[in-house]
Homo-oligomer: 548 residues x 2
Amino acid sequence: MVLAMSITFQTHPDQYRHWDLQVDGTIATLSMNVALHEGMREDYELKLNSYDLGVDIELADAVQRLRFEHPEVRALVITSGQDRVFCAGANIPMLCTSTHAFKVNFCKFTNETRLYLEDASERSHLKSLAALNGTCAGGGYELAMACDDILLIDDGSSAVSLPEVPLLAVLPGTGGLTRLVDKRKVRRDRADVFCTTSEGIRGKRAVQWGLIDALAPRSQFAEATRSRADALVAASEVESRGPGITLSALEPTITDSQIAYRYVTVDIAQDKRIATLTVLAPDSPQPTNAEEIQAAGEEQWSLRCFRELDDALLRLRFDHAELGLLILKTRGDGAAVVTVDATLASTRDHWLTQEIIGHQARVLRRLELTSRSLFALIDEGSCFHGVLLELALTADRSYMLEDEDEAVSVATSALTAEAWPACTGLSRLQLHYYGEPERVVEVLEQEGPITTLDADELGLITVAADDIDWDDDVRIAIEERASMSPDALTGMEASLRFPGPETLQSKIFARLSAWQNWIFQRPNAVGPEGALTKYGKPDRPQFDWRRC
Amino acid sequence: MVLAMSITFQTHPDQYRHWDLQVDGTIATLSMNVALHEGMREDYELKLNSYDLGVDIELADAVQRLRFEHPEVRALVITSGQDRVFCAGANIPMLCTSTHAFKVNFCKFTNETRLYLEDASERSHLKSLAALNGTCAGGGYELAMACDDILLIDDGSSAVSLPEVPLLAVLPGTGGLTRLVDKRKVRRDRADVFCTTSEGIRGKRAVQWGLIDALAPRSQFAEATRSRADALVAASEVESRGPGITLSALEPTITDSQIAYRYVTVDIAQDKRIATLTVLAPDSPQPTNAEEIQAAGEEQWSLRCFRELDDALLRLRFDHAELGLLILKTRGDGAAVVTVDATLASTRDHWLTQEIIGHQARVLRRLELTSRSLFALIDEGSCFHGVLLELALTADRSYMLEDEDEAVSVATSALTAEAWPACTGLSRLQLHYYGEPERVVEVLEQEGPITTLDADELGLITVAADDIDWDDDVRIAIEERASMSPDALTGMEASLRFPGPETLQSKIFARLSAWQNWIFQRPNAVGPEGALTKYGKPDRPQFDWRRC
């Protein structure tokens, strides 16, 4: 078992090893050309445009960068720079030699990246076209399904396929099954045939079944690609957006016990298996109107702070699997956070405001989908106000100090009601008060900061504790949590965090990921005789035939 | 590892070893008094009203029997016959020594039983009260949550609890997490505290948090139970129902290669890992009006056939885990099935008609939740008409013979549109045509039987094959399916069978069960140092702390 090395999620088109990004007016083209020998580890080769985490980090960067740096782009063409192959999906030897925890987190990240493509389509007028110039298998087809439009080359051999079940005894792990029947609405019996046909489906039948949107012969493929991209641009009703801003690499200071950014710090207590994530409120003047938002670019707190939080969460997921409990803290001036939110609320027709709020929403969803227990500590000096209140509402529980001078408070902002939907589509106040929807209104009607007794009365927090009890209450809760089985907590938190309706997104992370995690444990896939282990080897896998 | 013996699902109140059923006018009382030494296996004791499959089979029988034999009953009180203990949940030593496949199927059956209680409340005016006369832990509290009303004794010590996560490193496996936040709408942060507090919550706090509905001290407990049951009866607006009919035990003839009932036969091809399930249409006169339905009782085809199907599915699940593919066949006169459905449709205000249709719906949901591949073969002599068309629509795919004389057909009936909802709440036609809702209307508008070419044109079937291709097409499809990993197929089928909306029911079986299945594989629960293994032993479990 080869462990994953420490990973950086900061990259730039100039540094891409596996993708080429070209922007031409309102159309961008992202070509996949995976470098065979430049995987994140040296024990596998990235054949046939198969991908590992490093490839997907570049894809995620490209989508993010287009939204902030090239807001004028309306259509993104995703294609391949290799002949007769679009993408063979996730690299199998890489999966075979990865730990279970890495596999699960790898799948989660690739799922998030594909959801970001759909989010860009929905919120940023950035439509995407998968121009499949060759064979498209497994994760490759799952990437295509995350696009708005799929064009397949009609060359008599190139097919789309999800061969995971018949060939590898695992599931298409990146939302494929859900997107097939829930997004593309392929008839479920046809989906059954498709997902068990390892060679896939091509040509007219692929169109008839709804697996792809169009076909083009090789001689007309480039032209068809261009004309479908043009059509996506033409269908976009958005007015001019831009100019773009620059996103620079975050450069945290990393030691054994700390990851430190400008506004976000992660303190690691390895022996206690706890990370304390502290987020600072803005401590310098922030933009007050659309022009200043545009001018401030990546430096403004609303963007910078959440980019840091995003990076910190990914580092925790991949580099610190054994830290089971994240303590969420905030420090600084809550009023400054509410003011920043108010400025965003008053400039929501500005493209950059839309991107900033959308980015915050994505980071908050990354937080709620992080398999760690989350406790918010609302203590002296904290500022769970405005967008930072979302951290407390995302937490599995919150502790709030009853201080004598009533200096501790929480507060909503002009954006709390609906700006940052959870992955089920509900706001976090709606999730919190799922059984008492009238409370949502009551809390939003509160004027100014809500002190501990009021927050307790409103049911906005889990536990209110006075000075005398605080230390013991919090310490015991933390120790107890850190002593419980990480697996049981993962399953419990995934079940309790999302009451109410389900969306494509929540179905992917709940239903599909849970099944995939299960299968990634089963000897039929990963045992010495399992299909994943035996893939590419001469002998056939041996299955335990009992169904469960 | 002790394997489960062959199990019978046929029982009767006279034979109950663990429950006592008393019917008194409109109120029935079911008292749990689990016999310590009468578990289904001899290697564990059923202490503290803990249950194994045998206990739950009796509970399922009691709920079913009340609906058919005592339709006048409006309130069911579920309580315990033991002092100071209601129920300690599923028996842990039994779980520890069961195979993974048995654990998964055990949880599925107990989940179905609890859903049947909720179904009885919704469809049969049979409300239930959990009268918790003592401690109520784990599966005991999950049973209580399946009731409409929960009364807890207020004795200073009896609590409700879900101690699975902190004590056993598994999830409450019988819908507890979902019911907590989705049905009882307990605030999710409080649910987090509750599910990690092994001693549970009692008294006023349990009421405040919505974990229970009411409290009563010991001296008033019997009176409070009676008055709450009376209130459930009083709230029921239903007119007089009955008289009840008798349900006799089904007595299939069982050999190594066959399970044979009156209308249902299961042929077992052990070497090919295939079971062929053949359902016969009615072959004798059936009731034509409400009086005849009442008089025919358990003998009428609509009830008898589906009781047999239910029993056959349970036997397949528990006794034949290695049969991964069920071939669904029908034989007989399709018109007779459609006529029976029409009679049911025209008598839907009759209590027994309602029970018969509701029972068919439950059996069809049992089929769709059975983790086996389902292929329907619509061949010569078949009669996938009316309620039997639901079998083909439940299947993962269907093959229909193109015969020259057009004798092969399928047909809807007066009940197809909405009588048998799937566990997502959609009809099976709606599920089938999730992407083409206009087709549902088109199919329902067809008059009379739909022959193969038309069914193919309408997209009602997966594959149409003529005489020449039929044998090869079907044989190859079956062989291929039977060669794939059972685990991957389970996860795939669970994902593809349920496009569209989710319900409490589907969330339990998808999200929650998938996580529980995952956790039941993890060394932290079931490994030599896992919490389930170490439960009741002096040394503590050892956890792998990595989160995933």
